[in-house]
Amino acid sequence: MSARYAIVISAVLLLVSACGGGGDGGVVGGGGSTPSLQASFVPDNPNPTSNDVAMLAGTSADDRVQIRVTLTDVNDVFGAAFDVTYDATAVQLDRWLPGNLLEQSGASPLYFVETPVPGRTVVSAQLLGASSGVNASGTQTLIVLVFRVLRTGSFALGFEAASVSDSQFPPQPIVGLRWSAGTLLGT
């Protein structure tokens, strides 16, 4: 039985690494083909309150900017699923980093980030097999998405097909959440 467990866990770990994530502390690396371009992010809701799911600005360097997807005062969070939409001619997803929200559980959270079509990134973040969710006390980060702007201008990011699920089985969508995204700037 323990051997079987080892096989299962290793399969999952491989999957996670294949998704390209990493947890290097979140410092955005500079450089790129257009170093003079500066990226920044203007959130639609810079001061989230209870039951808000909001994109907030993280650090930025050159043409890359971190966007923190945050939850504020939401209880029993088991996972979240959403698409992030953007103008693929102006913006690229560079990489992603785990946030602190699910990591506090000790239950080996899993993140999947895929871009099946240009301009639409599908994000999934969840605990693994845990029988209870985590509480977002205050504003906590679910996942950090690092975007790169390709040209000057302002480019809207959006949430679509978005939900946060609790730890019941089947997981139930947590109702009453307000989702807000923002705008990427290339200057």
């Binding site: 088991f78 996972g79 103008d87 999947f112 895929e114 079509v117 599908v122 999934s124």
Partner: protein
Amino acid sequence: MHRARHVGFVFGGLLLAAAPALAGTIRVAWDPVPDAQGYRVYYGTVSGQYTQSLDVGPATETTLTGLADCTTHFVAVKAYNAAGESASFSNEISGWPRPVVGTIAPQAVMQGNQVSVTIRGSNFQGGLAVETDNPYVFFAGAAPATCTEIRATLTAEPMAPGLRAAPIGLFGLTVVNPDGVFGSRTAAYEVLINPARFDVDQRDPATRGRLDGRDTIWIARLFAARETDPLYQPDSDLDGDGWIDGNDLAYIASRLGQCWNGLQWSSSSCPESFQAP
């Protein structure tokens, strides 16, 4: 004592390896006879008229080979010692050579499907049964069209939601003739994963037919539940191995953002609402 006594037979049914194709085999065994130094096996295709014999020495079992397929063979044994052979034969047994399982067509079936299959081989008798080592695959109506071909209906579960899925992979086939003599072939056919089952959370009509985080969250919530756990849910055990594990999660995660077109998952199959903005 120079005569064989109590020479009895049983047809052996213990040989698990398939016999060579087109070379029928019959395995026979008998009770030992006191004072016998050896045994001679007589056989032929007419009862009581044995055209061939084989001295097997002191062994009390042997496998006759090179027999004509789909033909009844009659076998009897005599014991011998220094004084010569017993005067009388043992009781006579008869039967066809052991069934030989060759190919099955189609060779692969997807979970949740029922297909007509043809099994080719030899020595298939009316009243036979077809068995497999996949506990969630069933062969119904198996009957020989000829002694070298069986027609049957193969069902790979789940045929309805909520039923345990047939494990995927290669599985063996066994054909059992009415006399209990059987032939087997390992890795005879394959059960394929059914990707139509990947959309495990279909509660939201807006995302039904699309793989996204709702589906991975569903599997993640059940992670490590095994068949005996109350939380185990057959519809989430995609590969049918009795566990809800990383393999099931990987099937979905590797297709995140893709939509079902009736045959496969692809991003180009998604409706306008899930295409590029």
